[in-house]
């Protein structure tokens, strides 16, 4: 089958694009579908109302589950994670750190639960090796002295940003598939049993845009219910649970450390390159747009986490973030963590539509499988008989996608050692050449990218200073290159600092309070970013 060439229709105000498949939502599920379809020879346009990984995909623990976490409440999910985790380690190794995981119980935890754990793992075929508490504490010296049981499992970590960038880059290379950031679906035009046109809004340039596609996939994660309703479908039913995570200044453990008990608050510590991530909490919410970590959630995570690793009570935290999990309804009997962690693929045929489907729920770990299922349906509807290749084909390494890997920047920088290639982000050693490569070639690059978009495609701003220095340096470098040419560059800079602050606000104390005061003295006291609008008059 011939891919339809996308074309922008110049006549009139509205740009019109055509494609075989429109994918709504640039989280891991959406990007996974984009690549899966490309491998079957199908052209797609992917849109996100913000940017890649703006939703749950950019705000999770980054844990590539071995499945052990789910053995007590959802054996199917556990098995799915085990299979998908193993597959990804083989095919997308450059996005994964195979650090291994521990499950640990401390005095006072339910001993029967702990004792039963290896048998449950065995049922899901998950490797589970008992460790003497003393040995576990040798492996992870910050573990509590009150450790009573420990097991080792094949948990790992995965970088969702790299994963998303690589999937988009591969789909673009294979099929010329397109990705449009800050493009929000606002309405659907139905014709009989089909969605004929999807109307979108380009939020950055404040322009309407229309997309005609043979098939439309709603991969909107927690927003999937709202998106389906825009299409007149009321068969996606979700509740929302907000989770908050904390990022420490240092990496406090080399393994993933899980609390060996029924899943609860603050019971997983996951390494993420040079930091550790502690979480999560779980709170019902109705609000998808302004989820921000609160001081209370920060305190809950620290209190619970420090039972496993007491030094979490004293640690320095550099940020906190919150995202929303969609909970598929009807829910199970238990709490939100027991609600089905599986995913749902809804074909909307009962709603009278033959070219629209929704895929939501699931996990980062199972994104490939979710993409496969959705792509199978889409391909069948398109009459494409090529089978799924993502379980066989390794994920390529894209040069412009490599800057998100923790600790990798300095390696590239030393290896390439171009004279005059200065380091702009000193915490994470991000050089000028990385910024060049990102604005020239990264998936989703466009005219006048903001600093947030650049930071999403690199490690810039992820270190202890949280971008307060490198934001200034990168901005002035972009002026220097002639990339920014007017005061909008400063507005990009301010937006970046405002955005980063959302994650800092709840963890400003100790050393971070000093850091924050210095940043504000610079940004507001000296540069006057707080009065930028007034200056522009």
């Amino acid at each position: 089958m011939q891919p339809v060439t996308p074309r922008a229709n110049g006549s009139g105000q509205e740009a019109v694009f055509e494609t075989e498949v429109l994918i709504i939502g640039g989280g891991v599920t959406g990007v996974g579908i984009m690549r899966d379809l490309a491998l079957r020879g199908i052209h797609a346009i992917l849109i996100d109302k913000r940017d890649l990984c703006a939703g749950a995909s950019g705000g999770n623990h980054g844990l590539l589950h071995s499945g052990a976490r789910y053995v007590s409440n959802d054996l199917d999910s556990a098995r799915e994670c085990r299979r998908e985790g193993a597959l990804l380690k083989r095919l997308a190794g450059h996005c994964i750190e195979d650090c291994g995981g521990l499950f640990v119980a401390v005095e006072g935890d339910d001993e029967a639960f702990a004792t039963n754990f290896p048998a449950l793992c065995a049922q899901a075929d998950i490797l589970c090796e008992p460790l003497a508490p003393a040995l576990a504490r040798e492996l992870e010296p910050h573990l509590s002295e009150r450790l009573v049981q420990a097991y080792r499992v094949p948990d790992a970590t995965v970088d969702p940003f790299r994963l998303a960038l690589e999937n988009v880059a591969h789909a673009s290379a294979l099929m010329g598939s397109l990705y449009f950031p800050h493009t929000e679906v606002v309405s659907f035009a139905r014709q009989g049993d089909r969605i004929a046109t999807v109307f979108c809004h380009d939020r950055r340039n404040d322009r309407p845009l229309a997309i005609r596609a043979l098939q439309v996939v709603n991969a909107g994660g927690a927003w999937a219910m709202n998106i389906a309703r825009l299409a007149g479908c009321d068969d996606v039913r979700l509740l929302y649970s907000k989770g908050t995570l904390l990022v420490t200044h240092d990496r406090l453990a080399s393994h993933v450390v899980n609390r060996l008990r029924r899943p609860g608050d603050g019971d997983i510590l996951v390494p993420g390159g040079t930091v550790s991530i502690l979480g999560t909490t779980s709170l019902r919410t109705d609000d998808l747009e302004s989820t921000r970590p609160t001081v209370e959630e920060v305190e809950v995570n620290i209190r619970e986490g420090s039972a496993m690793l007491p030094m979490l009570a004293e640690a320095r935290y550099i940020r906190a973030f919150s995202r929303v999990r969609p909970l598929l309804q009807p829910a199970g009997r238990g709490g939100d963590r027991d609600a089905a962690r599986g995913f749902a693929l809804i074909d909307h045929e009962e709603q009278g539509l033959s070219n629209f489907c929704t895929i939501t729920g699931g996990k980062l770990t199972t994104f490939r499988l979710m993409a496969e299922k959705a792509s199978d349906l889409v391909a069948k509807r398109l009459g494409n008989t090529t089978s799924c290749r993502t379980a066989l084909e390794p994920l390529p390494h894209g040069s412009a996608c490599r800057w998100t890997e923790p600790g990798a920047s300095p390696r590239y920088w030393f290896k390439e050692s171009k004279p005059g290639d200065m380091i702009l982000c000193e915490c994470e050693m991000v050089p000028q050449s990385a910024i060049d490569e990102i604005v020239d070639a990264a998936p989703g690059k466009e005219e006048q990218m903001g600093l947030e978009a650049i930071a999403l495609r690199s490690r810039a701003g992820k270190g202890p200073c949280q971008g307060s220095f490198c934001g200034i340096r990168i901005c002035s470098y972009l002026y220097d290159r002639g990339y920014y040419r007017d005061p909008s560059g400063l507005h990009h800079m301010r937006r970046f600092f405002d955005e980063r602050f959302k994650g800092q606000r709840a963890v400003v104390w100790g050393g971070q309070a000093a850091q924050m005061e210095l940043a504000e003295a610079l940004h507001c006291g000296l540069l006057g970013l707080d009065t930028l609008d007034m200056e522009d008059r």
Partner: protein, 439 residues
């Protein structure tokens, strides 16, 4: 004036204790601490001081008095008039509790001192200067180093001018400054130069500044500047025109190039902050002030005879006994205040800290909120004599005074009043300490 008595051990005898006995002890070597030293010298008090670099390293060299009033959109033009408004709207603000004449006198004494010691400042005037920042925004301030003085007038008149920057100097882009200033200053252009003698790679402002003390390097730079200026009569360039006597370096470069030149601050920590620090570190001991550099006071005990400070360095402990003490230890960045997970504390004496009710109240949701954040208004409350109040609402101790941005009820960041609060409150604290000491 009697120099303080200092007993120092032989250099070869570590772990010996040293004792300094003096009239006034100043804790903190930021602008408030140094300004206090300048004012105390004027009162002919003997003194000792201690502290590490603190926020001083980050100053641009601009001395702000009051650049913004809470809730107004405009930059302050006449800070003296704005002080009157402040007195009405924020009566508890430290600057509202000091007579304008005293503030003016404090600024004048302070900048005169700097001028005498080789770092000339513009005279303290009626109006704020509107001066450019490294990114090309404009900031109101009261007094700036003479090397930066030509900028505001050139901008106001819109004369042709070239902002020069250098290869390898991070965070300073002439193109950025021009892109952001071109509305108000259409005749502003930019040029990039290789710093004389640089071999590519990063250019460190401090090293460049020191190299400009050498006449041949100035000669080379002047020639480059002349070419870069084209027909423009004036050039602005990053603040690296020498470390000592930058006014002389500037003068020489102007003579050699035939141009009007001015410095623009680079991103801190930068040369102007180092100049100030080096000036005080050199000049104050020459005037008999005992400075214990880069050391924090570990203990402070107060009794009816005075203040007893304990410090330590690699050679052992140092004790300072003084009849009065000024606490000018700054805020979180300098360690004068500590933000714990649940509360804000003053670590040396555990003085009561006026503060919001809990951590969730410290910050607004939006970082660059023009109203500022409650955490900045936390601090030490003082009485009319700038003595910190204890838990009972009375002075904590009759011999203890406080000055600088550690004081409560001000947000120096939003109001652009960092140096102003430091200098003015130091003046008042010294005034009261001198009165106590019978001077």
């Amino acid at each position: 004036m009697m120099p303080p008595t200092i007993t120092l051990p032989e250099a070869s005898m570590p772990e010996e204790s040293r004792t300094i006995t003096t009239e006034l002890a100043i804790i903190g070597t930021g602008i408030a601490g140094f300004a206090a030293a300048v004012f105390a010298l004027e009162r002919k008090l003997t003194m000792a001081m201690a502290g590490s670099t603190g926020a001083l390293a980050y100053t641009t060299g601009y001395l702000d008095l009051l650049g913004k009033l809470q809730g107004t959109a405009h930059a302050v033009d006449d800070p003296w008039q704005a002080l009157e408004e402040l007195r009405r709207s924020e009566p508890e603000h430290p600057l509202s509790r000091i007579a304008p004449a005293a503030i003016e006198r404090a600024f004048t004494l302070f900048t005169d001192f700097l001028g005498r010691e080789g770092l000339a400042y513009t005279p303290v005037g009626r109006n704020n200067l509107q001066i450019m920042t490294p990114v090309g925004t404009v900031k109101p301030t009261l007094s700036v180093p003479a090397t930066m003085a030509a900028g505001p007038a050139l901008m106001a008149s819109g004369s042709p001018c070239v902002i020069v920057d250098f290869h390898g100097l991070k965070g300073f882009s002439g193109r950025q400054a021009v892109a952001n200033l071109s509305q108000r200053w259409p005749q502003l252009e930019t040029a990039r130069l290789a710093f004389p003698g640089s071999r590519g790679g990063e250019l460190y402002p401090e090293i460049a500044a020191r190299s400009l003390q050498v006449p041949e390097i100035r000669q080379q730079l002047a020639e480059m500047l002349r070419q870069a200026a084209g027909t423009a009569p004036a050039v602005g360039l990053p603040a690296l025109l020498g470390m000592h006597r930058p006014d002389l370096v500037l003068e020489d470069l102007q003579r050699l190039s035939g141009l009007t030149l001015f410095e623009v601050p680079t991103m801190p920590p930068a040369v102007p902050g180092i100049r100030l620090r080096e000036l005080f570190a050199r000049a104050l001991p020459q005037h008999g002030v005992a400075i214990v550099p880069q050391q924090k006071v570990q203990h402070l005990r107060l009794d009816e005879n005075g203040a007893h400070l304990t410090l330590g360095d690699n050679y052992g402990t140092i004790a300072i006994h003084a009849k009065a003490v000024i606490l000018a230890t700054g805020r979180f960045l300098s360690g004068g205040l500590e933000a714990r997970r649940d509360t804000i504390r003053e670590p040396l004496l555990d003085l009561p800290v006026a503060q919001p009710s809990g951590r969730s109240q410290w910050y607004e949701e939006r970082y660059t909120d023009p109203r500022g954040h409650a955490i900045h208004r936390a601090g030490i409350v003082v009485d009319q004599a700038f003595r910190p109040l204890g838990g009972d609402g009375h002075p904590f101790h009759p011999r203890l005074f406080a000055a600088g941005i550690i004081l409560a009820h001000q947000d120096w960041i939003r109001s652009r009043s960092g140096a102003g609060i430091a200098i003015a409150s130091a003046y008042r604290a010294v005034d009261e300490a001198a009165r106590l000491l019978g001077r």
